[in-house]
Amino acid sequence: MKIAIASGKGGTGKTTLATNLASYLAQEHQVVLADLDVEEPNSGLFINGKLVLHENKDKMIPEWERKNCTLCGLCNQVCNFHAIIKLGEQIMVFPQLCHSCYACSELCPQNVLPMIPQKMGELKHFQTSNFNFVESRLDIGQEQAVPLIAQTLDYLKNNFSEETIFLLDSPPGTSCPVIEVTKNADFVILITEPTPFGFHDLILAVETMQELNRDFAVVINRHGIGNSEVLDYCEHNGIDVLAKLPNDRRIATLYSRGELVYKKVPEFASELKKIADYVLDLLQEDK
């Protein structure tokens, strides 16, 4: 079962929840934590594990072979992303803009645009004492997170059984990278904070989940700051609030050092247990 941990606004506690929940659930269950925030993956900073696999991830890009090219310009015409351009006697490829659709390559009458792999990022698989951790990171300068996320999800599918609890640490926002993660999830936990920014971005995230037809629930982080808008909204719209993680400077300090919180802050642990119990109930229903 795949559970995505997402949020509209950044910095609301996705990684804190994902890492603590993974460690907590792994005490009795088979868990894989995957950091799919490939632009800025952070979960690994909180996890000590043994590296079991490290591989480059590629995307396919056309490469121009000048020799038999007639400079017909069809490649330039068919590319909707301006990723291949005919400039005088040259065909120029802009790998960052390429979506790997293969149109230019396969429609080229001279077959002079073979698709070749180009590195876009790296995947690492770690084993901790009781769970597996997979993270991918996008190379600096690569603009598209989606292909790397998709390949990482494939890796999860091919390497673990379906009974595993997959926790997917998502990127922030509501655009394509988040969609790529959440559209593949069985359930989404939206974590937010009870502030006007948190509230505003939660509504966007809720709308996105509704659009995708995903089941979801909310966790409130830093409960105690701000106001009651988030709680009122959830109550009014019949959205489950699974837990209220306390606003506590001790938590911020533990996080800043890269330490798990639940082992040291009992008020956090008791709320985390509520989320874990909910996830286990979902798992039961699923069976």
């Binding site: 990684t15 925030d37 800025e40 952070n42 149109a103 396969e106 600096i140 006007p196 700051i225 106001n227």
Partner: protein, 291 residues
């Protein structure tokens, strides 16, 4: 006219709260652009009047005319995005998966596929309570093309700044290092990196700085919540001096930011807060550097 872009790598470091404070301090001398288009929050503090709005179209997706379709399945076999499943004997487009490449439309023997332009959001030009203009946008839930909407917001902000002879464009960027960030960095004169002293904050700062460096833009840094972890703050300070990044100042961990936000105010509008003085000093430094 100088374009100053505020980014953070990691989300939730206080980027928007600080940018909104700069927007108040800059007043009539600036134009503000909210380029965090998929979680745009600046309007919650600057109280814009939404004076002008326009739909934003970008990108296309495939639409199959079932009347014309001869069920040959060529479209499905060439699609690299699994966007054309066969449901009840009909080939249909999964809009979420369609990348808009147009390959299917091009090879369809029955000419049954049309690429249709997508309305992906709205963009706005508003007057704010800071007596300046805010260019902002809202991406539709789940929409693609945030990078292009960012480019549009920046372009409009620039036109206004040029026409009204403003000194600065202050741009609030998005988290991460991907296409919206790349789009907000293009054409920038100076980058302000807002970070926090956590292992994640430092990690993300280093990554986003590599990107800034690729663009060859000079940068300054604000360490927010600096007293949360002195050890990491020291590491950040060292990183800044090793890389010739201006240190614009530190802010303490202070819930006054949240209190002000809850009242719909920027921190510089609150009564005699020491934060107000610290942020004013930072803004003055940025102006001094970008004279």
């Amino acid at each position: 006219m100088k374009e100053i872009v505020i980014i953070s790598g990691k989300g939730g470091t206080g980027k928007t709260s600080i940018t909104a404070a700069f927007a108040m301090l800059g007043g009539t001398s600036i134009v503000v652009a909210d380029c965090d288009v998929d979680a745009a929050d600046m309007h919650l503090l600057l109280k814009p009047d939404w004076a002008f709005s326009e739909d934003f179209y970008s990108g296309v997706i495939a639409v199959i005319d079932q009347e014309k379709c001869i069920r040959c399945g060529n479209c499905q076999s060439i699609c690299r995005f699994n966007a054309i499943p066969k449901i009840n004997d009909e080939y249909v487009v999964n809009e979420l998966n369609c990348e808009g490449c147009g390959y299917c439309a091009r090879i369809c023997p029955a000419d049954a596929i049309e690429m249709v332009e997508q309305n992906v959001g709205k963009f706005y030009i508003s007057n704010t309570k800071a007596e300046n203009k805010l260019v902002h946008a809202r991406l539709k839930s789940g929409a693609d093309n945030s990078g292009k909407l960012v480019a549009k917001v920046k372009k409009e902000a620039k036109l206004i700044a040029e026409k009204e002879q403003k000194e600065y464009i202050v741009v609030d960027g998005s988290p991460g290092i991907g296409c919206p960030v790349v789009s907000s960095l293009s054409g920038a004169d100076y980058v302000v990196l807002v970070t926090e002293p956590s292992v994640s904050g430092l990690h993300d700062l280093k990554r986003v700085y590599q990107l800034v460096n690729k663009f060859g833009i000079s940068a300054g840094c604000i360490i927010n919540k600096a007293d949360i972890n002195q050890n990491v703050t020291d590491q950040i300070m060292k990183f800044l001096s090793d890389n010739d990044i201006d240190h614009l100042g530190n802010l303490p961990y202070d819930e006054d930011f949240t209190k002000a936000m809850t009242e719909g105010k920027t921190i510089v509008e609150t009564q005699e807060s020491h934060l107000k003085n610290l942020i004013t000093e930072m803004w003055n430094k940025i102006k001094e550097i970008n004279k």
